[in-house]
């Protein structure tokens, strides 16, 4: 098992407001990947504790991006993103591991600093997803699945996670209601996050639809069972079990102990990093209820940190679908296999409860710009651990230890990071 050869810290973070900046929308709202990437940069600069010349200090850019090629017809993204924030001619490289592209960019940045190769680097992520048709987005995401042995038989990403869900339901008795509760919680949190794509609770959405005359429902459960407003995407997942299609960018400055104080008096230390891989095809995994890549990454990260899951006080986990959050919590070890869904039902994962999960609103409410999501998670944990989360989203007991869990595809790859104040 690995260890970091020298201490590494995150000293500044930034993100754009995650959202829908589609070319199909009003012209004044259209934004490309470079536009939102520069917004993330400005957010970072504006919130830095001390003034530092990033163009002088940063030695390389590690950029997470899944598929600008298919989403935007733009390859070769890293030098372009380096250019617009003034990093040329320094090295810039793009890392792609589907939805964990941001996570692997961050991990690679850490390794580059820990090794002594660089002292200060930028780890970022960007994805511009909203310029394709729904079918185009579905197909592009499906490229992260096995294109030969899954896709021709009808696989979609919701469909693959729905397979994990039916397997989990059959094995552990996980219920549809428990799945829906994950989304309800994450929207409650996302409402409090000014950078979330959907700053609404599920109840807000219901009330909005009542006002618009779409229908009438006695409670949120009736609303969530109504095909008209919450249609099936892939049984047992409905629309509101799925994360959003999002344009977003986020970045973090990663540096050494010696350099950290140039940026801030309160760095956040990276004390554990783990990564795992697995077969791309879900069918090739003996256990379809859990992700071996995540279990492997978790083991490595906790071993490096010398901690146990019970030590974590805040976590952002990869809730690309509601079932994914339940599986994630079990893979990391917050709850035993089969206990994750019950924990959600008991409210143990809400804000200011035993194990706050996805205080940002998660991918469900904050949004899921594929290659930026892993860095977006780090932005949230960084803020929570420094007491800087906006408004009521800030945990009352400022967490000292935090964790991020970022998954690629249906579990073909995963990174986990553990942070300490």
């Amino acid at each position: 098992m690995g260890k970091l050869a020298r201490e590494v810290a995150v000293v500044a973070v930034g993100m754009c407001k995650f959202g829908n900046y589609s070319k199909y929308g009003p012209p004044e709202q259209i934004k490309t990947s470079r536009d939102i990437w520069m917004e993330a940069y400005l957010d970072l600069v504006q919130h830095m504790d001390k003034t530092v010349n990033i163009q002088e200090e940063a030695e390389a850019l590690f950029l997470g991006n899944f598929s600008s090629d298919l989403f935007e017809q733009q390859g070769h993204l890293a030098p372009l993103m380096a250019e617009v924030i003034g990093l040329n001619p320094k090295p810039a490289l793009r890392l792609e591991d589907a939805c964990v592209s941001g996570g692997v960019a961050f991990r690679t940045a850490i390794i580059s600093v820990a090794s002594g190769m660089y002292d200060t680097v930028i780890a970022g992520g960007v994805e511009k997803m909203t310029d394709l048709t729904t079918a185009g987005v579905t197909d592009t995401l499906a490229a992260a699945a096995d294109s030969v042995y899954e896709f021709p038989y009808g696989a979609t990403f919701p469909g693959l996670y729905a397979n994990i869900a039916t397997a989990h339901m059959a094995k552990y008795g996980t219920t549809l209601k428990q799945l829906r509760l994950v989304a309800i919680k994450n929207h409650n949190n996302g409402k409090l996050n000014p950078r979330a794509q959907m700053q609404m609770t599920m109840e807000d959405m219901m009330n909005k639809n009542i006002q618009k005359g779409v229908g009438n429902w006695n409670d949120i459960w009736e609303y969530l069972d109504d095909d008209k407003v919450n249609p099936w995407v892939a049984y047992p997942l409905r629309l509101n079990d799925c994360s959003l299609v999002t344009d977003g960018a986020a970045m973090a400055i990663v540096t050494t102990r010696e350099n950290a104080e140039k940026y801030t008096d309160t760095p956040i230390w990276i004390i554990g990093t783990g990564q795992g891989s697995d077969t791309l095809a879900l069918h090739d995994r003996p256990d379809r209820t859990h992700l071996r890549a995540a279990q492997t990454a978790s083991k490595e990260a906790f071993q490096m940190a010398g901690l146990e899951p019970k030590d974590i006080q805040v976590a952002e986990v990869h809730d690309c679908f509601t079932i994914a959050e339940i599986v994630a919590m079990e893979d990391v070890g917050f709850f035993a296999p089969g206990e994750g869904a019950k924990a959600v039902e008991e409210g143990l994962t809400e804000l200011n409860s035993q194990m706050p999960i996805n205080t940002s609103g998660g991918l469900k409410s904050k949004g899921h710009p594929i290659g930026a999501s892993g860095i977006g998670q780090i932005v949230e944990v960084f803020k929570q651990m420094r007491g800087e989360a906006e408004g009521k989203r800030q945990l009352k007991n400022i967490p000292e230890i935090g964790l991020t869990h970022n998954v690629g595809g249906s579990g073909g790859s995963c990174t986990i990071h553990i942070f300490k104040r």
């Binding site: 469909g159 049984y235 047992p236």
Partner: protein, 179 residues
């Protein structure tokens, strides 16, 4: 490869004083054993056969076939036909399908079931599950017995010039096992 067998075009004969044009080389005989490639797997499916590569060293059946055994990572394999019977391990009734399935006529009103199947041969594959009630997923049971059913269809082929054509293709589907 093609150059050798190509006949000269637009020339009456070989120039005098030089050796006569070589006779068209004999076509190489079709290989007796298909390569363990993705294409071979697809070709066999088009012949309505589910073929895997069995490792001569460790006995592992690799399905789909591959040139390197997925258990011992040696390259000593032979073709075996796999019986397409097994149990449904996971499934989803998909209402928002891929464009590929939409083109086959599926939609939110006509969903299709995609699942993973653990074959009795000890390997697993994904498949389109037919013969079940897609609109009532609660009626579909994990653990139910299924068997391969080959479905004749077509796939769109686009040549280098961009011309589209439809060519026949056999798709693997699964149906509930016949008693």
């Amino acid at each position: 490869m093609a150059k050798k067998t190509q006949k000269p075009v637009g020339k009456a004969s070989a120039p005098a004083g030089k050796a006569p044009a070589p006779k068209p080389a004999e076509k190489p005989a079709a290989p007796a054993v298909k390569l363990f490639t993705v294409q071979s797997y697809v070709d066999f499916i088009n012949q309505k056969k589910l073929m895997g590569a069995k490792c001569k060293d460790c006995g592992k059946i690799n399905l789909p076939p591959r040139i390197v055994c997925s258990n011992c990572y040696k390259g000593n394999l032979e073709w075996v036909e796999v019986e397409g019977k097994g149990t449904l391990a996971s499934f989803s009734s998909i209402f928002i399908g891929s464009s590929f399935m939409n083109a086959k006529g599926y939609s939110s009103k006509k969903p299709y079931v995609f699942g993973t199947v653990d074959l009795d041969a000890g390997v697993s594959i994904s498949g389109h599950i037919k013969g079940v009630n897609e609109l009532d997923p609660d009626s579909i049971q994990i653990g139910m017995r299924v068997q391969v059913a080959y479905e004749d269809g077509t796939e769109t082929f686009i040549d280098r010039s961009g011309n589209k054509s439809e060519r026949p293709k056999v798709f693997i589907t699964f149906i509930p096992e016949e008693q």
